[in-house]
């Protein structure tokens, strides 16, 4: 039977050899920013698609003194965020927080917090498809050669086709970026609204893709440029509405449908940002709007 004095699993769930393997991959990922380092992804006690890559990266860097924040689409209180936070609270007995500025490690699915990240913080992205060329070229052997030869014309063709069909670049999330003028990188499915936050961020950014078995990284203060054209420069989404709860502007909004007659509210996608503002006394209209947001077609995505 199990010896009661021995824990049933190692600190932070992963065994030490796995952590070493992942740690070595992280160091090489930092040394070659934007390059996807293959790693021997493990089965985790959650299915692929639930952040197994991010979880393995977090588990490999996490220590008992860290304060962990986990967000899912900006929210601290959605299923994925709650369960991963509970996972690490259990297997690593680590302190958790929802406050962006209090966290030393932030694991995220599909958002970068509105509060600017600080020097010394680490943000870990959960990545479903790390390969920015995958939907253009399905063969791994080919995409690997394309990265090796810096052959990224196809990505620009894709963006050009957007312009030809829609009159503008219609890619709104997982918008490809070029890192330090060399590697084209998938920033994970964050809205392009968040892309500028990656450029010269003082925080260390780590990306983990569990099913696809890739780790990549951006050291602090790295050049991260969203791809565009001279005559179609990169722009981010704009929201004309203000947050119905905290009145915030210039943040990324979620659209909440409130009835079947077109009523809807726009609220901050970043719940911590919204709660902080409300605790400081900011208050939004609080009511569903029956207006048509001017940026509706884009805001709705």
């Amino acid at each position: 039977m199990t010896n009661p004095s021995l824990p049933a699993y190692n600190f932070a769930y992963l065994d030490e050899q796995t952590k070493r393997m992942i740690r070595r991959a992280i160091l090489k990922a930092i040394a070659v920013p934007g390059y996807q380092v293959p790693f021997a992804s493990r089965d985790m006690p959650m299915p692929y698609g639930w952040g197994t890559g991010g979880v393995q990266v977090t588990a490999s860097i996490l220590g008992p003194d860290d304060v962990l924040k986990v967000i899912d689409q900006g929210a601290d209180d959605t299923t994925n965020a709650v369960s991963i936070r509970a996972f690490f609270a259990k297997v690593a007995d680590v302190a958790t927080t929802t406050r962006t500025e209090d966290a030393t490690i932030i694991q995220t699915r599909h958002r970068i917090p509105e509060t600017p990240l600080a020097h010394g913080q680490i943000i870990v992205y959960q990545v479903p498809i790390p390969e920015p060329l995958r939907f253009l070229e399905p063969r791994e052997t080919e995409t690997r050669v394309m990265h090796a030869l810096e052959e990224y014309g196809l990505v620009h063709v894709k963006l050009y086709e957007d312009i030809a069909q829609h009159g503008h670049i219609a890619t709104t999330y997982a918008y490809p970026v070029k890192v330090e003028g060399r590697y084209v990188m998938d920033p994970s499915p964050i809205p392009k609204f968040d892309n500028p936050k990656m450029h010269h961020s003082p925080a260390l950014q780590l990306f983990g893709a569990g099913r696809e078995k890739r780790i990549y990284a951006l050291p602090p203060f790295t050049d991260v440029v969203s791809l565009d054209f001279e005559d179609h420069p990169f722009t981010v989404q704009r929201f004309d509405c203000r947050c119905a709860l905290c009145d915030a502007q210039d943040v990324y909004m979620d659209e909440v449908i409130t009835d079947d007659r077109g009523g809807r509210m726009f609220v901050c996608s970043d719940t911590d940002h919204c709660e902080t503002r409300r605790s400081e006394g900011c208050q939004g209209a609080g009511l569903p709007q029956h207006c048509t947001a001017k940026a509706g077609w884009e805001a709705a995505e």
Binding site: N10, K19, I26, L27, A29, A31, G63, L149, Y183, F221
Partner: protein
């Protein structure tokens, strides 16, 4: 501080000590030129300096052959193999980690793996002991991880060091990653770190 036998001198709390060391090393690699102090969590035989020993105890295992430049490193090599399971290789090309000697001739560094264009991560990490990390001629660094510029002043670098580092940076994404080590302190010069005129 050398262990009395090869069996001594390993981590006393491997899980937490290696995590703490890794975070310091990750900090150093993510911020080239920044000096981190790894302390003395392990006691290894000479010529392994405390920071080199702590680094290897944290990151080396049976997947990572280690190459020693010095002759007469059998004790250190045996210590490393006992505590980490890492194989010691005679062939620099196969090494994941290379423990260089002070004043290591840079002409030999071209023998280390520098990755391929398809897999630039399959490259060696070199550990170079220096006299001091602070008392030498200042060198200016630029690159990812550095907000504007960083200044390092390692003492008694090997001859042709700056030329070798310039070559290493120029062949990005290929290249080796270098760690300068003095006693328990370490600073990293990953292949992205460019030594520039001040």
């Amino acid at each position: 501080m050398t262990g009395t036998t090869l069996l001594d001198g390993g981590f006393t709390a491997p899980v937490f000590q290696s995590q703490a060391i890794f975070r310091l090393v990750m900090d150093a690699v993510a911020q080239p030129g920044r000096i981190v102090d790894l302390g003395n969590p392990v006691q290894a035989p000479a010529p392994l300096e405390p920071a080199a020993a702590a680094f290897l105890a944290t990151l080396a295992d049976y997947d990572t052959p280690v190459w020693f430049e010095d002759n007469g490193t059998d004790t250190a090599a045996s210590w490393l193999t006992f505590h980490t399971g890492a194989a010691v290789t005679k062939d620099p090309w196969t090494a994941s980690f290379a423990v260089l000697s002070k004043n290591s001739p840079v002409s030999g560094w071209r023998n280390f793996a520098m990755g391929s264009l398809s897999y630039p991560d399959r490259s060696a990490t070199l550990l170079l002991p220096v006299e001091s990390l602070r008392d030498g001629t200042p060198l200016t660094l630029r690159g990812p991880g550095i907000e504007t510029i960083a200044t390092i002043a390692p003492c008694r670098l090997p001859d042709d060091f700056t030329e070798t580092m310039a070559t290493n940076t120029a062949r990005f994404p290929l290249g080796f990653d270098l760690l300068l080590i003095c006693a328990s302190e370490l600073l990293a010069l990953p292949r992205t770190a460019r030594l520039v005129e001040a």
